[in-house]
């Protein structure tokens, strides 16, 4: 949707467009911003990394004869004296989805050149992400206090801790990096760098609202990974 027009180049929709793309002269994805194409390639490689983590978790959990800790008891939280299963995890899920929604709207308003709305929505996304990381830090410290370590835990199979810290830690790192970039981009949007086509810090590329979409792709991917972690690690 962001793709700039190339003079004299008409892109066909559907499968003929795909044939045109893959058989294209010099470059594939003609007219697509290179940053966007590269972000997709990066996300594809990241998908493989997270898949390897989750598959190794499946293999570890499936091959142990010791009983696996019950996640809905391990991650239960006391609310008003009553243990509620997965309470914190559910709140974290809703926070991340909320921030994904604000990001999607930020991309939309960015393309409409609505600078203020776009910047406020990116800031809201960043605050949502920060809340998520904060709750994850709380969850980690709670489990560490209860004696969960990568090599042992009081609930059951010893492998539980190493998979938990590895998978949620890697996801949390992605969220943290995303939050840093969201704050930077919120500042850049507020300052109007994308309206006056100001060049970036590490690149000679002219500023454009397509950068918001690229950042958005990364942020939605972080949310996407959480969907799988939530299903396989916390619910299964």
């Amino acid at each position: 949707m962001s793709d700039p027009k190339i003079e004299g180049y008409v892109f066909k929709p559907g499968f003929s467009g795909m044939a045109q793309d893959t058989g294209s002269d010099q470059t594939m994805f003609k007219g697509v911003h290179w940053g966007k194409a590269m972000m997709w390639i990066f996300l594809l490689s990241d998908t493989f990394i997270f898949s390897c983590f989750l598959i190794s978790y499946m293999k570890g959990r499936g091959s142990t004869l010791v009983e696996w800790p019950n996640p809905s008891e391990v991650f239960a939280l006391d609310a008003f004296g009553v243990p509620v299963p997965l309470l914190l995890i559910a709140i974290m899920t809703f926070v991340l989805i909320t921030s994904s929604g604000t990001m999607a709207l930020a991309v939309k308003y960015g393309y409409e050149k609505n600078r203020k709305m776009c910047a406020w929505l990116i800031l809201a996304t960043a605050i949502g992400g920060l809340t998520f990381v904060g709750m994850q830090a709380f969850e980690w410290s709670k489990l560490i206090h209860e004696g969960v370590r990568p090599w042992e835990n009081p609930f059951g199979a010893k492998q539980f801790g190493s998979f938990f810290f590895m998978i949620t830690g890697f996801h949390g790192t992605h969220v943290s990096i995303g939050v840093i970039f969201l704050f930077i981009y919120a500042y850049k949007t507020f300052a109007g760098h994308y309206d006056e086509k100001k060049r970036g810090w590490f690149t000679t590329m002219k500023g454009d609202y397509v950068e918001i979409e690229i950042l958005g792709l990364y942020w939605h991917f972080v949310d996407l990974v959480w969907v799988f972690i939530f299903a396989f690690f916390y619910l299964w």
């Binding site: 793309d21 598959i55 293999k59 499936g62 004869l65 989805i97 996407l224």
Partner: protein, 111 residues
């Protein structure tokens, strides 16, 4: 297809579609939490978890990441490698079943 025609004129999508997807994601997350809340067990639990997971992932990819409106070349470049992951999952399922078998055979049954 309606959306494609509109986007050429306005270059962005209506806000309604984002709010709809947002709402659907909330509802689906709520449902998947309810799977744990009511402590469904066995095949019902796993199929519900997978169903809600794939619906959520599909909605995020199709609409929030705009894959629904993207060119087919990009969609294919992204989705075909997933078959490699599926193969890897099948391989590792065979592997852990074998590991469990040898552990039961040597540690429990005593060889």
């Amino acid at each position: 297809m309606e959306e494609t025609k509109k986007q050429e004129q306005t270059t962005t999508h209506k806000i309604g579609i984002y709010l709809w997807i947002w709402g659907l994601l909330f509802v689906l997350s709520f449902f998947s939490y309810m799977v744990d809340w009511y402590q469904f067990q066995g095949l019902l639990r796993w199929s519900l978890i997978l169903l809600f997971m794939f619906l959520k992932a599909g909605l995020i990819m199709a609409f929030f990441m705009h894959l629904f409106w993207e060119r087919y070349a990009l969609v294919n470049v992204l989705l075909w490698p997933m078959t490699a992951i599926a193969c890897f999952i099948f391989l590792m399922v065979a592997e852990f079943e074998y590991t469990v078998f040898t552990r039961i055979f040597y540690f429990v049954a005593g060889g």
